[in-house]
């Protein structure tokens, strides 16, 4: 893999930041700015997936779980903020007399909520990762396990209507930490926070990728046993990447709630988790910008094509996914390098070697 110069990537992030934070608010309508905010949330989760899957080789198929932790923590706080001293409306519907569930109580505090958004995914991913990586669970087993967890959590939320809102989810938030959400100025602020967080996450992985840890992570992905024989415990290396990716998914989920205004189990279940992966694969999982841009593209496709032609959109997405995996295993972001390589030596094509490596990884 040829490595682009670090300053080039950094200025890339700078351009991206200007586009998101300065240009987009000026040129986009409120409606599309809100949509862009939503894509930013998915992109934040995608950046984490790029780290865990693209660089770390862990196919995290259940990032919806961590997305949900952040989203529901935020949604519970906003619901309580909206309800004030009373019990949230949807709970009264099911049982007017019962008190607020115990686990809701601490989410009245803004500080606790913010802490929970950060700590819950770190703790859960830490525990889960420790248990799995120390036992050397990897490849398809790891993927299926994380996916099952997302299904289980979605089912749990669906079945606890009074405690979590069930399938209808949590919605109708009026305030965001004291700001009225209906106010366009506040909406802009929420968008800017999400966009800024995306930039921060990109900067974080940029530093991780150029650091020694980034090299060690790639080494662990490609030859875990060899890393062990250099005196490292690969489980710890993977654990760090997994926890960071979980944290990013949680942050994405937390910002999703005030921007979209509703969170339901459908946004965090198996299908949603796979959709997050799809964006990453499309964009290029091992690259810096690929995951974020891929996720935004999938998000945009979903809200434009997905609303005008919903049946067709699923097929288009599926087809696109297959084409990219078959012919561009490193995603769309590998296209420029491909063209450059093809121009330099039209006869030689490095493609087969890459494809074989890809297959090996899936098998392991």
């Amino acid at each position: 893999m040829t490595k682009p110069k670090p300053w080039l990537s950094l200025s890339g992030i700078g351009v991206f930041a200007v586009l998101l934070l300065a240009v987009a608010p000026l040129v986009l309508t409120d409606h599309w700015l809100n949509n862009l905010g939503k894509y930013c949330c998915w992109a934040i989760a995608a950046v984490g997936i790029g780290l865990a899957w693209g660089r770390g080789g862990m196919l995290v198929m259940g990032q919806g779980v961590f997305f949900a932790l952040g989203a529901y923590a935020m949604a519970m706080h906003l619901t309580l903020e909206t309800a004030g001293d009373r019990i949230p409306g949807f709970m009264v519907l099911y049982d007017p007399l019962a008190p607020l569930p115990m686990f809701w109580e601490p989410f009245r505090s803004a500080g606790f909520t913010l802490l929970a958004i950060v700590l819950l995914p770190v703790l859960l991913a830490g525990l889960l990762g420790y248990a799995l990586f120390k036992r050397r669970v990897k490849g398809a087993y790891f993927a299926i396990l994380t996916q099952a967890l997302a299904v289980a959590l979605a089912t749990l939320i669906s079945s606890t209507i009074r405690e979590t809102g069930g399938d209808t989810g949590l919605s109708d938030f009026k305030y965001f930490f004291g700001f009225v959400l209906n106010d366009p100025a506040n909406k802009l602020m929420v968008y800017l926070i999400a966009a800024a967080l995306l930039i921060v996450c990109l900067l974080a992985v940029w530093q991780l990728y150029r650091s020694r840890f980034g090299e060690l992570l790639v080494a662990t992905r490609d030859a875990e046993e060899r890393v062990r024989f250099l005196g490292y415990d690969p489980a710890n290396v993977k654990l760090v990447a997994f926890v960071v990716s979980a944290l990013m998914a949680s942050i994405g989920g937390a910002m999703f709630v005030p921007i979209v205004g509703i969170i339901t189990p459908a946004e965090i279940g198996a299908a949603a988790s796979v959709l997050m992966i799809a964006g990453v694969a499309l964009g290029g999982r091992a690259s810096l910008f690929g995951p974020a841009l891929g996720a935004m593209a999938v998000g945009w496709g979903q809200s434009s094509l997905g609303s005008t032609w919903p049946e067709g959109w699923t097929y288009i997405l599926g087809l696109l996914f297959i084409v990219v995996i078959l012919f561009l295993p490193n995603g769309l972001s590998s296209l420029p390098a491909r063209f450059a390589a093809a121009r330099r030596r039209p006869a030689e094509q490095p493609a087969p070697a890459i494809a074989v490596a890809e297959l090996e990884e899936v098998r392991s």
Binding site: Q207, R212, L216, V218, A219, R226, R228, F229, L230, G231
Partner: protein, 267 residues
């Protein structure tokens, strides 16, 4: 017996009932190029697997005062045991420098992992010089020649500052010149470290071994200098299948057995 010798005593390794290694004892000291030879399936690689924690074993393997058996792989490595594999296993996507930098990493504090590398560490430069890879600093390891990959692996053991280098068929597939270069490299390294080589190549063994242990069917058949071992009639019998009639010279005529019969043992 000095403090920094590798002493293996009565090593037993079983794979679901099959005794791969049954009571092998040998020792290795700095200053000698130690060879472990034997026909295919003799248990040579399994001995290395046991010492490095890859295969479960009973008995004892000590580096100085420290017992190695029973510890997890990465902890054994941290005690100073390094190894290579039959097939060169370097990180293909990373450059030579990156490969070596990762190998050097266990002496650095974990926090330093979060920073990018600046410059080339001295130990890495020395290892590059020693193994003749100085010109390949920025080359992705995946496109190195087979011999260069093996040298990179040895260089990785050097920057890792391994006290013991366990080399599994380091010259397999190398040209004659490369073999000579490797042998001379090993002799230089052995001045300060323990070098234990598992090999099929009799010619290479004869040229560079100071002491040899011959394994056969999981047991030690013979032990001593190259001359001792070659004169041992039991060794001749094992390698030629006919007792007595063999001459020592005939040993070199033994075809090189096919590598890669221990697939099942590795998991």
């Amino acid at each position: 017996m000095t403090d920094d010798s590798l002493v293996v005593t009565d090593l037993h390794v079983e794979f679901s009932g099959f005794v791969a290694v049954g009571g092998v004892s040998f020792d290795a000291h700095p200053g000698e190029v130690r060879f472990l030879i034997g026909p295919n399936g003799a248990g040579k690689t399994t001995c290395i697997d046991a010492v490095t924690g890859l295969a479960k074993a009973t008995g004892s393997a000590r580096l100085g005062e420290r017992e190695l058996l029973g510890r997890p792989v990465h902890k054994i490595v941290r005690l100073g045991i390094g190894r290579t594999f039959q097939t060169a296993s370097v990180f293909d996507e990373l450059t030579v420098l990156q490969n070596l930098d990762i190998a050097a990493g266990r002496h650095r504090p974990s926090v330093s992992l979060l920073r990018a590398r600046r410059g080339v560490e001295e130990s890495i430069e020395q290892a590059l010089e020693e193994t003749g890879l100085a010109g390949e600093l920025a080359t992705p390891a995946g496109i190195l020649s087979h011999g260069q990959k093996q040298w990179l692996e040895i260089a990785m053991l050097l920057v890792q500052d391994a006290k013991v280098l366990l080399l599994d068929e380091p010259v397999a597939g190398m040209s004659q010149d490369e073999r000579t270069a490797t042998g001379e490299l090993l002799q230089r390294i052995a001045a300060k470290r323990i070098v234990l080589v598992v090999e099929h190549d009799m010619d290479f063994m004869r040229r560079f071994a100071t002491r040899v242990t011959v394994l056969h069917q999981g047991k030690v058949l013979s032990q001593g200098t190259v001359a001792d071992v070659q004169a041992d009639p039991r060794v001749q019998e094992v390698y030629l299948g006919t007792a007595g009639a063999a001459t020592t010279a005939a040993m070199s005529a033994v075809p090189e057995p096919v590598a890669g019969t221990r697939q099942g043992q590795e998991d």
